[in-house]
């Protein structure tokens, strides 16, 4: 199998989705700011969407369902970004910082 026929293979897309999910997970556990974590969470959602679209193209009987599901994932991601960023702005007004380590009020 040549490298030029990779786009006809289900496993290529599944591994790409897994790699994107791993990059997003790395970003979530290593970022220190809340905005950085939100950016990494968008990568996680993109990896999941690629998985849905790959199964939709190669194995599912009805290729509409996966596309509709991916559109719903996009809508949920947009809602999540709006809510998360308004929380970030509110946290910044209260703590004067968007560092996840600074947003504590209890001693300990």
């Amino acid at each position: 199998m040549s490298a030029l026929t990779l786009y006809n293979n289900l496993n290529t897309f599944l591994i790409l989705g897994a790699v994107l999910f791993g990059i997003g997970m790395y970003g979530i556990v290593t970022r220190k700011t809340l905005i950085g974590m939100l950016i990494a969470a968008e990568l996680l959602l993109a990896g999941a969407s690629i998985n849905f679209m790959a199964f939709n193209r190669f194995t599912a009987p009805d290729p509409v369902v996966g596309q509709v599901f991916t559109l719903f994932i996009m809508a949920i991601a947009a809602a999540e970004a709006a809510i998360g960023l308004s929380i970030v702005i509110s946290v910044y007004r209260h703590f004067k910082s968007i560092d996840a380590e600074d947003t504590v009020q209890l001693k300990g």
Partner: protein
């Protein structure tokens, strides 16, 4: 209806199939590079630029999955709306001394890399080891079919998504308004 084209032999690089495969490899490279930039850059503005690059690559991958409509929506929603929203938040909430932060979280270094590699590797092994059953297509997945299904079978979910978005917008406004007087 487009049955999967099974190429039995490797195409030449400068044939049509070979160039399509080359474009696909470029799209995958753009996606992975953008993701790495988004998670490793020291400045948040560069991270959001990497996220945009990654989303454009993902849209190209969707195009290869027979879904030009979803590819267009990906660019429209993610690059046009989500990335711009995050840029606004960076401008509103990140002062200059916090723009350069980089990775300093609790699991930075080998632990974080190990976590990510474990998850990605186990998902990849799971995908490679499983025999996925392939079923015959019952329609072509065109934009017309998507529209018909969205307004018949998925109409309830469609309405619920609209309500979720409305509540999210109102909630975002309410949350961001708290403490504005100070």
């Amino acid at each position: 209806m487009s049955p999967p084209i099974l190429l039995t032999e490797a195409p030449a690089l400068f044939s049509v199939d070979g160039l399509v495969g080359l474009v696909f490899i470029i799209m995958v490279a753009i996606t992975v590079t953008g993701g790495i930039i988004a998670c490793n850059s020291t400045r948040l503005v560069r991270a959001i630029a990497g996220l945009i690059v990654c989303f454009v690559g993902v849209a190209g991958v969707y195009y290869f999955l027979n879904s030009p409509f979803v590819a267009m929506m990906q660019i429209l929603i993610y690059v046009g709306a989500v990335a711009v929203t995050i840029s606004f938040a960076i401008m509103l909430a990140a002062p200059e001394e916090q723009m350069e932060i980089g990775n300093k979280g609790p699991l930075v270094g080998p632990f974080g890399f190990g976590t990510a590699a474990l998850i990605a590797g186990s998902f990849s092994v799971l995908a490679l080891k499983t025999e996925w059953p392939v079923m015959a297509k019952i329609n072509d997945g065109s934009v017309k079919n998507i529209g018909i299904r969205l307004l018949t079978d998925f109409s309830m979910v469609f309405e619920l998504i609209s309500i979720v978005l409305l509540i999210a917008i109102i909630g975002a406004l309410v949350i961001a308004r708290v403490g504005r007087e100070n």
